[in-house]
């Protein structure tokens, strides 16, 4: 028991230390916001990108950076950053709205994949909360189950025992489900499955080789699904019918979401 307490205390200390570091970062963030307000978009972009290069991210930074790129006329980067904001915070309404507008400005529009309703419901449910969020829920459920389990163990009353046992079982099952969600979302957050084309256009090749046949052209702002990597080349697919438009592009034309 004492060990656990120690752990928790250490963790709290870490959180405090982090809070101290962010003071300067928030300064950069605010300066960038001021530059945006003053319509100095290149300066705003520089500020937000600086935060990202330090390794500090947040949906707000991505969203604001997307706006700055939008104003600067760089639709590819704008779309990329809105997508990143939405990946971190799937419920970011403004990012979703601005992404729609940015997608209207680009030339090649790929219709979004239409899925079976249950799958899309499941995906919106799982991606609707961050991995941390799901993790906290899972932990809460299991600890609550323990509390109720303690009641079950030490109670002599049959009614109390039965009720507490049922409740505990339910909590254990739901904590396992929440843990699964946390795992799925964690993988989604830490793996990149999609990317945005960030150059004005690129030829998609039949093989990971500069001399191979050109299949088709992809344009700035197009979202592609990543399939496999090989020697600086990335196999991508576009659109909903899988296997319909698949080919290889250089990794440097892609912005990973």
């Amino acid at each position: 028991m004492r060990k656990w307490l120690l752990h928790i205390l250490l963790m709290l200390a870490c959180v405090n230390a982090r809070a101290e570091e962010t003071v300067d970062l928030v300064g950069i963030y605010n300066t960038a916001n001021e530059a945006f307000a003053a319509k100095n978009y290149p300066a705003a972009i520089e500020g937000y990108e600086q935060l990202l290069s330090i390794g500090k991210i947040s949906p707000a930074v991505y969203f604001n950076l997307g706006n700055a790129y939008f104003r600067a006329g760089n639709m590819g980067m704008s779309i990329l950053n809105y997508e990143r904001a939405l990946k971190m915070d799937p419920e970011h309404v403004d990012a979703a709205f601005n992404l729609k507008l940015a997608n209207l400005r680009i030339n090649d529009r790929v219709e979004p994949t239409s899925q079976f309703i249950l799958i899309s419901w499941y995906q919106s449910l799982v991606h609707g909360r961050s991995a941390s969020g799901w993790g906290i829920w899972a932990l809460s459920a299991i600890w609550l189950a323990l509390a109720i389990g303690t009641v079950y163990i030490f109670s002599n009353k049959l009614v109390v025992r039965r009720l507490s046992f049922t409740l505990m079982a339910l909590l254990v099952v739901s904590s396992l489900v929440l843990l699964l969600f946390a795992k799925v979302q964690y993988q989604y957050e830490n793996n990149t499955q999609a990317a945005i084309i960030t150059v004005t256009n690129t030829y998609v090749k039949a093989a990971p080789d500069q001399t191979s046949t050109d299949l088709f052209i992809l344009r700035e702002g197009t979202k592609v699904t990543l399939l496999e990597t090989q020697d600086g080349w990335q196999k991508v697919s576009v659109g909903d019918n899988e296997g319909d438009k698949v080919g290889w592009v250089r990794e440097d034309v892609l912005g990973l979401i």
Partner: protein
């Protein structure tokens, strides 16, 4: 009919120059005849004809005659001259060697007037007709006229190859040969060259003769027509003959000459046309047979949208470039491609037809991007190598910058909601606390999370173990018995039920009582030795068990004991007793735990 009439001064030796008249116009030809009569004719050397061009000549004529026993002979050399300028011109003396001496002719002075002062008169002198008619026995050298003309005036057709590939050039040349003087040509049969595509190399408007030896004889030779032929069909093809009709002027000695109409033809030629080999024939074969070179250029490789770019494809080579098809560049549909402007140039290298063709395409990029212009490819049949040769331009890269100008037409799949969105602006940035985290951050490090998650499970089992241990330490075995009493009772009642089914009354009541007493003993913590009905009832009463239940229990125990010792007094069936017992134990189990 006889030709060579003459006016001879019998036996008199003479060497003189004669002209029909001494005054001519500048554009008129002058015929000069050197007549040698009754003299040996050796080493005739003409004067230098200063101031004149020699149009034709010399034409030698000879005649021997016997008039009234007097033999006479005459030799004529005829020249046709063209004055170079107007004015008084003197034609110098010609010379011959005769009897070891050099004899000279007379000189003649000609007055050349400005052109048009006097109509040209090609007719002979007044004695022309007479000469003709009076020549009944003037049997020149005995040649028939047609034979003579055929020998001295003919046209030949030459082809440079007898066997060619389809599309390969054959050169056909029509050459006119003459030794006689001709003053009018007309083509009576022009060849049509069926099955060939033709390019004229030479079609004489004026016929210029040069001296050439043919079959060991010198002729005046002129090319009437030279044509490059490109066979369009395979198999044996005929090249048509060319027919001519000429007016031949034949001097008849002295001042006279005679005209004849002569018709003749070149005859035809045959050539074999082979098909091009099918093996290795490229799909993009242009149809050109010969040599080809291709150059593809862009006038710029960096452009702005809507900025016209010229893509030039230049072909040059030998062969029939007319056969070439214009290649169409395959462009991404971000370009507008206009119909090409084609400039052609034909050249002749010797007799080989060739040339160049430039095709200029106008492209207008409509969208920004970096584009590749796919190679332009064509192929031709190389005659020297005898194989097909493919040409391929290098890939070119074109960078286009600027605003795209076709956005609206491309986003045609736009729906109503999107139309409304188009008019709107993006939502403003967030300015409150950004809540910065690090990439891929989780609520806590993964091992810590696993431990935090696993801990309650371990704790749960730990607590169970703890409880058991504590129970044991307290030596509270009665508690265990208490806990198990219900299960033990249920087991005994099961045995009683079996006895009931076997109709073993004694066994049944025995088991029933054991179950009930055993249950009560375990549950109430009373040792079996101290157990009796009163002790049990009072213990149950102290645990606040309902009086009604106690009464039912007491009655059930009485019945069972009575049945064991005095079975005849019992009216209740085994079934009823059994149900009572199970019910009461159930009820006690609920109120005691």
């Amino acid at each position: 009919m006889l030709l060579f009439a003459f006016n001879a001064m019998a036996q008199a030796k003479a060497f003189r120059a004669e002209v029909p008249r001494n005054t001519i116009a500048e554009n008129e030809a002058l015929q000069i005849t050197f007549v040698i009569e009754n003299m040996e004719d050796r080493n005739f050397s003409p004067p230098d004809f200063k101031g004149f061009n020699v149009v034709s000549g010399p034409m030698k004529g000879m005649s021997n005659m016997n008039i009234n026993g007097v033999r006479s002979s005459s030799v004529t050399y005829v020249y046709l001259l063209q004055p170079q300028a107007s004015g008084k011109l003197t034609i110098g003396a010609a010379s011959i060697e005769s009897g070891g001496k050099t004899v000279k002719s007379n000189t003649i002075t000609i007055t050349v007037n400005k052109a048009g002062t006097k109509p040209a008169n090609s007719g002979g002198g007044g004695n022309n007709g007479g000469g003709n008619k009076g020549g009944g026995n003037n049997n020149g050298n005995g040649q028939d006229v047609n034979d003579y003309l055929n020998e001295n005036l003919f046209i030949r057709l030459f082809v440079d190859k007898k066997e060619v590939y389809k599309g390969e050039q054959v050169t056909a040349t029509y050459k006119l040969y003459r030794k006689v003087q001709v003053d009018q040509y007309s083509i009576t049969q022009a060849p049509s060259f069926n099955g060939f595509w033709t390019v004229d190399i030479e079609e004489a408007k004026t016929i210029d003769f040069t001296v050439e030896t043919f079959n060991g004889v010198q002729y005046y030779v002129a090319v009437v027509r030279k044509v490059a032929l490109f066979p369009q069909r395979t198999g044996e093809l005929e090249i048509d003959p060319m027919g001519l009709e000429c007016t031949v002027v034949v001097p008849t000695g002295g001042w006279s000459y005679q005209r004849f109409q002569h018709k003749f033809s070149s005859g035809k030629a045959k050539i074999m046309v082979k098909p091009l080999p099918e093996a290795n024939k490229p799909a993009d074969f242009s149809g050109l047979v010969g040599e080809l070179d291709m150059q593809v250029t862009l006038d710029k490789t960096n452009a702005k949208t809507d900025d016209p770019i010229t893509l030039s494809i230049k072909f040059s080579g030998k062969g029939n470039l007319k056969f070439l098809e214009n290649p169409t560049p395959e462009l991404p549909n971000d370009f507008e491609l206009f119909d090409p402007k084609t400039t052609e140039k034909s050249t002749l290298q010797g007799n080989v037809v060739g040339g160049s063709r430039q095709i200029d395409y106008l492209l207008i990029p409509r969208r920004a991007g970096t584009y590749k212009l796919p190679p332009i490819a064509t192929s031709y049949f190389d005659l020297k190598k005898g194989t097909y040769v493919s040409l391929r331009s290098p890939e070119m890269v074109l960078a286009v910058e600027g605003e795209s100008t076709v956005t609206q037409s491309v986003t045609s799949g736009i729906n109503k909601e999107e139309v409304e969105l188009l008019g709107q602006d993006i939502r403003y940035i967030e300015t409150d606390d950004p809540d910065l985290t690090t990439q891929g951050s989780f609520v806590m490090p993964l091992p810590a999370f696993a431990m935090t998650f696993g801990a309650p499970v371990l704790l749960f089992f730990g607590l169970i173990a703890l409880k058991r241990k504590r129970d044991k330490e307290l030596g509270n075995t009665s508690l265990m018995k208490h806990r198990k009493a219900g299960k033990v009772a249920a087991k005994r009642l099961k045995q009683a039920e079996e006895c009931m089914k076997a109709n073993d009354k004694r066994g049944f009541y025995n088991e029933l009582l054991k179950a009930t007493w055993g249950y009560l003993s375990d549950k109430l913590g009373i040792p079996p030795s101290d157990m009796n009905k009163d002790a049990a009832i009072s213990a149950l009463r102290s645990r606040k068990v309902d009086e009604a239940q106690l009464a039912v229990l007491a009655a059930m125990l009485d019945t069972a004991e009575m049945a064991l010792y005095a079975p005849s007094t019992i009216n209740e069936s085994l079934q009823q007793t059994y149900e009572k017992a199970t019910r009461i134990i159930d009820q006690l189990e609920n109120s005691l735990s």
